[in-house]
């Protein structure tokens, strides 16, 4: 996952109307959209709510100037595992339907149910919508801006400090990870090479990880000492200056709240 860090951040540094929006309004809009699709009950109305939210997402992604290939690439990293579990649903009964009608017999005793296919599609819709808005948020907002935005929204200062340091050092360790990967490759070591004894591969990876742990810890010690030299103490906090929202941020916030809330309300309230 850490290999994708640089890829994600590179796109977050681009310029577009969506990239220029304040991080706070993007966080609120993305989380509202996710909550909206989760709130909609497991029923076919999810499709309608999902279409509305995905159209909203598509407009924003288009405005961001990011290629659809970036979206497909990032989605492809997440989808396989949970996509398999979603696909598996077509063979299973679930508590969201009173009865199940087999439409295809795979093997004796294993059926594909019409209602289960519908449930799998409902799960897939919810999954795609919720992940899409996270991809939009992280592809159009720099990590530091996300953190500052969260701080301005009331994230406790201790957490801001810790997450800020973690995010900063993710890149350091990302480079370190790359270097270690290159070193292992230079020595022709491949953990997936079946010609090597398994115990040997386990020990090599174990030592690599142990070294990584010690290097992380020692980096933490050096960082702490460096921070002490710069006046860090018990009552130090990250200072984040106040920043009023611009008119375009307010406008986006209004739309970003209205569409998901309306979609959730219209499609999930009993009629």
């Amino acid at each position: 996952m850490i290999e994708d860090l640089f890829f994600i951040e590179k796109h977050a540094y681009r310029q577009s109307p969506v990239h220029r929006l304040d991080a706070r309004v993007k966080i609120v809009a993305a989380f509202t959209a996710i909550i909206a699709i989760v709130v909609v009950p497991y029923s076919p109305v999810v499709y309608q709510a999902g279409v509305v939210l995905l159209l909203f997402f598509a407009v924003l992604w288009g405005l961001s100037g990011l290629s659809p290939r970036i979206y497909v690439h990032r989605m492809a990293l997440i989808l396989p595992l949970w996509g398999t579990i979603i696909l598996f649903q077509i063979f299973l009964k679930n508590p969201y339907s009173p009865e199940f009608h087999p439409v295809f017999t795979v093997l004796p005793g294993i059926y594909i149910y019409a209602e289960s296919v519908g449930f799998a599609l409902i799960l897939l819709t919810k999954f795609v919508v919720s992940v899409s808005f996270i991809l939009l948020l992280s592809s159009t907002t720099r990590m530091q801006d996300l953190l500052e935005g969260a701080s301005r929204m009331g994230l406790p200062p201790e957490f801001s400090l810790m997450l800020g340091m973690m995010v900063r050092y993710l890149f350091v360790f990302g480079y370190m990870f790359r270097k270690i990967q290159h070193s292992l490759a230079t020595r022709c070591f491949d953990p997936f090479d079946h010609r090597l004894p398994y115990r040997y591969r386990l020990r090599e990876i174990g030592y690599t990880i142990g070294t990584f742990f010690v290097r992380s810890y020692e980096q933490g010690e050096r960082t702490y000492t460096a921070m002490l030299c710069r006046g860090y103490g018990r009552h130090s906090h990250v200072f984040v200056a106040e920043k009023p929202l611009a008119r375009r941020d307010w406008a986006f916030l209004a739309v970003g709240l209205a569409i998901p809330i309306a979609a959730a309300a219209v499609f999930s309230l009993p009629r």
């Binding site: 996952m1 997440i78 799960l123 819709t125 810790m162 591969r201 810890y217």
Partner: protein
């Protein structure tokens, strides 16, 4: 093991968030009291390291691969289950918000499973086995294995409660898969512990915790 947003109704997500927040606040208190508040940066940087460590993969079986979660390792080296809660909370927040791995409404459940249950199971099974056997390899291996398996089983139960996966298949599937992956977790934890203890014996205190 990262439950995405689609797989859990919102009331259950809120419930797990509340429980997770209790443990996150307790872990913050542990950091302030046990590690000295000013040394928080050290653990934050270590969390970034654990995040990177999770990228090292090893094959398990039948084309599957596994990696270290790191909760048991962090809890054993730092001498407290709250170390795992604290570090894995940071890791899961970054994974959920930046990478889309896990969800926002389900993040509480994920922190509860991997951070809280994984950390507590890993730490206390290690302590219990060490007291009973005095065998570091066995204790660390079993602790890391349990810390991988038990959260997976709890995840299966949570998804059954959510109505998105049957209990029997979930327990069997998640149980078998993570029992296999747990071997990787256990093996790597033992090797890494030996290396850390030989290179930096001052930071590993298997009975009292870290001496920073």
């Amino acid at each position: 093991m990262h439950i995405p947003d689609a797989f859990m109704p919102i009331p259950q997500g809120i419930f797990y968030w509340v429980v997770a927040l209790v443990f996150i606040s307790l872990s913050l208190r542990w950091v302030r009291q046990e590690m000295d508040e000013t040394k928080v940066p050290l653990v934050a940087v270590l969390a970034a390291g654990i995040f990177a460590i999770q990228a090292f993969n090893l094959p398990v079986t039948m084309g599957t691969s596994g990696h270290l979660v790191g909760g048991a390792l962090a809890a054993i080296v730092l001498g407290s289950p709250y170390a795992a809660v604290f570090i894995l909370s940071l890791v899961l927040i970054v994974q959920g918000v930046i990478f889309g791995d896990g969800g926002i409404t389900t993040m509480g459940a994920n922190i509860l499973n991997m951070g809280v249950i994984g950390g507590f199971v890993g730490f206390y099974s290690y302590k219990g086995l060490m007291a009973a056997t005095r065998n570091l390899n066995l204790s660390a291996f079993a602790a890391a294995w349990f810390a991988c398996l038990v959260p997976a089983l709890v995840t299966a139960v949570e998804m059954w409660i959510a109505g998105t996966f049957p209990l029997d298949l979930g327990l069997a599937g998640m149980g078998l898969y993570h029992a296999a992956i747990g071997v990787i977790e256990g093996g790597i934890t033992v090797v890494a512990l030996h290396l850390i203890a030989s290179v930096r014996p001052d930071i590993v205190n298997v009975t009292k915790g870290v001496t920073v």
